[in-house]
Subunit: 236 residues, 2 copies
DNA sequence: CGCGATTCTAACGAATTCTTACAGCTTCGC
DNA sequence: GCGAAGCTGTAAGAATTCGTTAGAATCGCG
């Protein structure tokens, strides 16, 4: 009965689906309330205000779309439609009546959880919990803190320009990155002698990574072509 | 060139898809910008800040998920992934990395439009937080009492001007805040050299937060761009 | 080996940002 | 009112970032 956990209201007439959803959601850290019929569902809304409503459109006792429409107007909750009707037109009208998402049966509970999380994330002022960290060759690069941390835990800060280069490498490791691609990606305006600036950026980055100039192990220069960042990179 | 219309940035390497999307979106009342490659796309983001980003995951020059990840942290835009990969796991990781929606190819442009509308609708409804207290990095900021309280319960008062800056940071943590945004938000109407005043406000705030000038942990300067406030922030 | 093309890096300098000092202004207590 | 204290912007010099320059080092190719 933890009031801090987000509350998800489920409206579906099939018991197995209700069960499947509530199991998956509770395991994922949500509270749930299940309803089989629209009238019960609406009564429940008056007692508690859920953060997310999962609504099956194929209801026996009510026009699901009308319900969605009203929910969208009256409740602040995120509304996700679950439906067996897969036609584009169905989805479009559902979304236009105010739903925030539209999931087609049969569905995977994992995806439902992910979509609910995506909805809640936007609504909150809280920062997204996705970390912005890459691990490689004994280093951890924290792009949010502009910090490199080595195996021993020693910290080295890097500047924004250096970070741009490092990120570009870590996003495409073991792949040739041409100077042209870099220039474009790093906002290099026109093709003048911006090349030199990039050399310098990379040079500074290499020293921060403790590369041996004679024998760079991470950032390889491909003469006449560009650079390759070598190594296993893991994000997160 | 109506700046009031929402701007949608499209990133897809297939020309037909770009065309199809931009046609549908423009007919639906959006402005669009199309890009074939990630590097161009990122360069475009620096010039204009779209309200929605449509990103194809199958990019030739970059790991699409890494790009999405970064977008989610740095841009306030809604992010919609378009992908040929239909596996549940693909969708879940996409959403967990910060995407707001995930559309599978082949898709119907009408549905894309509807989903974009649904996203934008939610963004506008975002209710302003009425709480006057924020917690972050061991600090509690009480805006109603102009008081900062650290873990040990020691109190430090802050001024109105300092509070304006602090609130701006705490309302969008882990996101770049440009000097222009600050100036606008803090009512710095006149003064072209209002920038200096800004510097001083931030400097004073930093000392009150006990930041190490060499290595600020909370308020990072992005040379030539603005500032980022780092950390988990909880309001209330 | 020699030569031109390419890349590296140390040093410099312009732009930007930080910090300290100071002055004008408001607020508060008396 | 008066003076002290605090707030806030301006000014000025220090510090940082980062592109540019230039000379050295390296590479590819004969």
């Amino acid at each position: 009965m933890n009031a801090d956990l987000p509350l998800v209201a489920i409206l579906d007439d099939e018991p197995e689906i209700r069960r499947m959803l509530s199991d998956a959601l509770e395991e994922a850290g949500f509270r749930t309330q299940s309803y089989a019929r629209a009238t019960e569902f609406e009564a429940g809304l008056k007692r508690s205000s859920p953060d997310v409503c999962l609504v099956d459109l194929g209801l026996p006792d009510r026009d699901g779309l009308a319900l969605v429409h009203r929910l969208a107007l009256e409740s602040g909750a995120a509304i996700i439609i679950i439906s067996g009707r897969a036609q584009v037109q169905d989805r479009v009208t559902g979304l236009e009546l105010g739903a925030d998402d539209y999931i087609i049966k049969p569905f995977d509970p994992t995806e439902v959880v992910a979509r609910i999380r995506a909805r809640l994330r936007k609504g909150r002022t809280e920062s997204p919990s996705v970390s912005q960290t890459a691990h490689f060759a004994g280093w951890s690069a924290h792009f949010d803190r502009y910090l490199l941390i080595d195996e021993a835990g020693r910290e080295t800060s890097f500047s924004h320009a250096e970070g741009e280069v490092l990120r570009l490498f870590l996003e495409s490791p073991n792949r040739l990155i041409t100077r042209a691609q870099m220039q474009e990606s790093l906002g290099g305006a026109a093709g003048e002698s911006f090349d030199r600036a990039m050399d310098v950026r990379i040079s500074r980055l290499r020293t921060k990574l403790g590369e041996d100039p004679k024998n760079p192990r991470l950032i390889k220069t491909i003469y006449g072509a560009g650079y390759i960042f070598l190594g296993e990179v893991r994000w997160g």
